[in-house]
């Protein structure tokens, strides 16, 4: 069997969150080169701060400044740093108990080599030159007996934005791959369920009604019926066509499931359920393994299909 198609899939989003009183105080402190923890009901100082007491679940409000120097409580060695981590050269991940705190903070230690690293080592924060109110305002820690840097003024921080960038290889299923490869040649290849006989296009790995893999490839024509539609009047980010325009469900002749596509070539208010449409393909030299080879559907001029022909496909 030919190998299924796959392609890189980049997922990225910048999460923006409000901080609440406890974390706002902590992040504001970081911007000012200051580390602020919170005192628990048992008198222990939590750094990083917790919003609620881990024992009594009471909200905690007594903020306590601690030092930006401390002691390594445990560590591991990151020989090959990954994207987004605090350092791009080998470093130690460490739990660091800052002077004045009773719990430990996770951060990186720029120790040079694993041989320089040990539990119990004294470390101090290396502050970023540009600070925004984030845990990354501490670039990393360094092994040192020296006192921490003095704090500086800085504005209050109430929000945090965390960029997330993840990289995947997205795989199409074998039947989806056959469908996409068919599109390169201008063919529409569906799959028939061996149990119920329904034809799916685009095909699915298993029949959603019977839960069995589809087995028979079925070539379908590039014309069909509008089963339902909507008129898009609202502009949105990334929109390629000026509203109003029609997004419709098109049921290809011989298929049992409609797919969404554009219906152009007539006024939006002329589109109706049962309207017969045909595919308008892009120029052949632009074809690839994508449904975008079909630019849109347009009215074919045939008489409307009767409701009975698509009533089971709505």
């Amino acid at each position: 069997m030919t190998k299924p198609l796959s392609a890189p899939l980049e997922v990225g989003f910048d999460y923006t969150r409000s901080l609440g009183p406890t974390l706002s105080r902590f992040m504001t402190g970081l911007r000012q080169r200051r580390v602020t923890g919170v005192r628990g009901s048992d008198g222990r100082v939590h750094v990083p701060p917790v919003e609620y007491d881990p024992v009594t679940a009471e909200p905690l409000t007594e903020h306590v400044d601690v030092a930006s120097t401390g002691v390594v409580r445990s560590w591991s060695w990151a020989a090959e740093p990954l994207e987004g981590q605090p350092l791009s050269t080998p470093f130690a991940w460490a739990l660091i108990q800052l002077d004045g705190a009773d719990t430990s903070l996770l951060h990186a230690v720029d120790a040079g080599s694993a041989e320089q690293m040990r539990t119990g080592a004294r470390v101090r924060a290396r502050w970023a030159a540009e600070r925004v109110g984030a845990i990354t305002d501490i670039e990393c820690f360094e092994i040192s007996d020296e006192p921490g840097d003095p704090s500086v003024p800085g504005d209050e921080v109430t929000m945090i934005t965390t960029p997330v960038r993840l990289h995947y290889t997205h795989s199409a299923s074998p039947v989806e791959s056959a469908f996409l490869r068919g599109l390169i040649e201008g063919r529409l290849l569906g799959q028939r369920c061996p149990a119920c006989g329904k034809v799916y296009v685009p095909p699915r790995p298993a029949c959603p009604t019977d839960g069995v893999p589809t087995t028979d490839e079925v070539e379908l024509p590039d014309r069909g019926t509008v089963t339902t539609f909507c008129i898009v009047n609202v502009p949105f980010l990334g929109q390629r066509i000026k509203p109003p325009y029609v997004a419709a469900y098109v049921l290809l002749d011989g298929a049992d499931i409609p797919f969404q596509h554009l219906v152009l070539g007539c006024a939006a208010d002329e589109v109706r359920m049962g309207m017969r449409v045909e595919a308008v393909w892009k120029p052949r030299e632009e074809w690839g393994p994508t449904m975008q080879n079909i630019d849109h559907f347009r009215p074919s001029g045939e008489p409307d299909a009767s409701f009975d022909t698509y009533s089971q496909h709505l």
Binding site: S76, L106, I135, L166, H170
Partner: protein, 355 residues
């Protein structure tokens, strides 16, 4: 509604081979169809006999939204089914199904978990389960964090690099009898210890592999379980607990939540335990936390160290433990699952056979 809560048992279990990567989609359909067929066929059931369906998976692992909805294609959800999902290891979906059966609203349930870890970079994807304010922005990787925990135990004298290597060697030897394992074979501890560090103090053998796979379990209540199976694995205790997400705020050399879950579930007189320990030191930690003595056979399947399909491996541990009862090999077994970083959440399911 019954007057008293019904007794509930695991009556069937199936899983895919554990492999480094599949060519399938991230919605798991290709992995799930064969194991549904296997587990239902083995019980003489069809999909319409199942009263409740519940799954565990993660969109972050799949890199796409609502991947678990596409997975429902593998069921063939017509006529409409009663279905639910947890964004956790499917062991927690099993718990939800167990509660559903306890209410009497269903007599049978099929639970499944799937994960295609090979689609992304697992060590980074797992940073998404950390504290999003204070920890995720540093992108700590799962192995780096586990190394911190391992060193704490080593330096406290609770375990050693040698004891960790012994866990790896025993797991791989045991996996030789598990045809679905990703790794197996005879390895000696000295040669494992001669390997370089992956994330000092962890070596490659201390870390579970990256695995694509899926698993499924069928639960049944009372007489329905007795009809379906000659020796059901009756659930006598099923509990889960969670620890603080603050990594530096809890004692990482033990697991308060595992201790509590084990105690509540009645983790005593166990013959066989399957522990969801993605790192060698975590098996040692869990043995201690659950009070499992030397007489308890631990991870005869090879455990997560020989195949760790994310979001299915915990369910598979419970299935592997249940299998020892179903086959008559064991009387009383324990399946454990974990979720979150450094054993933050722990679930214990105790099962027994009745002759």
């Amino acid at each position: 509604m019954p007057n008293s809560a019904p007794e509930i048992a695991i009556v069937g279990f199936a899983q895919t081979p554990c492999v480094r990567s599949t060519t399938g989609t991230t919605n798991g359909v290709e992995m799930l169809v064969p194991i549904f067929h296997e587990v239902l066929g083995g019980l003489g059931l069809s999909k319409t006999d199942i009263g409740f369906w519940c799954s565990g998976s993660s969109d972050y692992l799949a890199g796409r939204a609502f991947s678990f909805v596409s997975a429902v294609d593998a069921i063939g959800a017509f006529p409409p089914i009663v279905e639910s999902h947890v964004e956790m290891d499917a062991a927690w979906a099993l718990y939800e199904a167990y509660v559903k059966l306890l209410t009497g609203e269903a007599e049978t349930a099929l639970v499944y978990g799937f994960g295609k870890s090979s689609a992304g970079q697992l060590r980074r994807v797992l940073a998404m389960q950390l504290d999003p304010y204070l920890v995720t922005p540093l992108w700590p990787d799962s192995i780096g964090l586990a190394g911190i925990q391992a060193r704490m135990g080593i330096e406290s004298g609770l375990w050693s690099e040698r004891a960790m290597a012994e866990v790896a060697a025993r797991s791989r030897a045991d996996a030789m009898s598990n045809p679905l394992a990703q790794f197996s074979g005879a390895v000696d501890v000295e040669s494992l210890l001669a390997e370089p560090y992956l994330a000092d103090p962890l070596r490659r053998h201390d870390c579970a592999p990256i695995t694509d796979g899926a698993a499924t379990i069928v639960l049944a209540a009372g007489d329905r379980a007795r009809e379906l199976c000659s020796r059901p694995a009756w659930i006598t205790g099923f509990e889960h607990r969670v620890d603080s997400p603050s990594l530096g705020g809890r004692d990482l050399t033990t697991s308060a939540s595992a201790v509590a879950a084990g105690k509540a579930a009645g983790a005593d007189r166990i013959d066989v335990a399957e522990l969801h320990a993605p790192f060698t030191h975590q098996e040692l930690l869990l043995r201690q936390a659950l009070g499992l003595g030397d007489e308890v056979k631990v991870n005869p399947s090879g455990g997560a160290l020989c195949g760790n399909p994310m979001f299915a491996a915990g369910l598979a541990r419970i299935g592997e433990a249940a299998r020892r009862v179903l086959s008559g090999e064991a009387e009383r077994v324990l399946g454990h699952a974990t979720s979150g970083p450094l054993l933050q959440q722990n679930l214990v399911c105790v099962m027994e056979g009745r002759d």
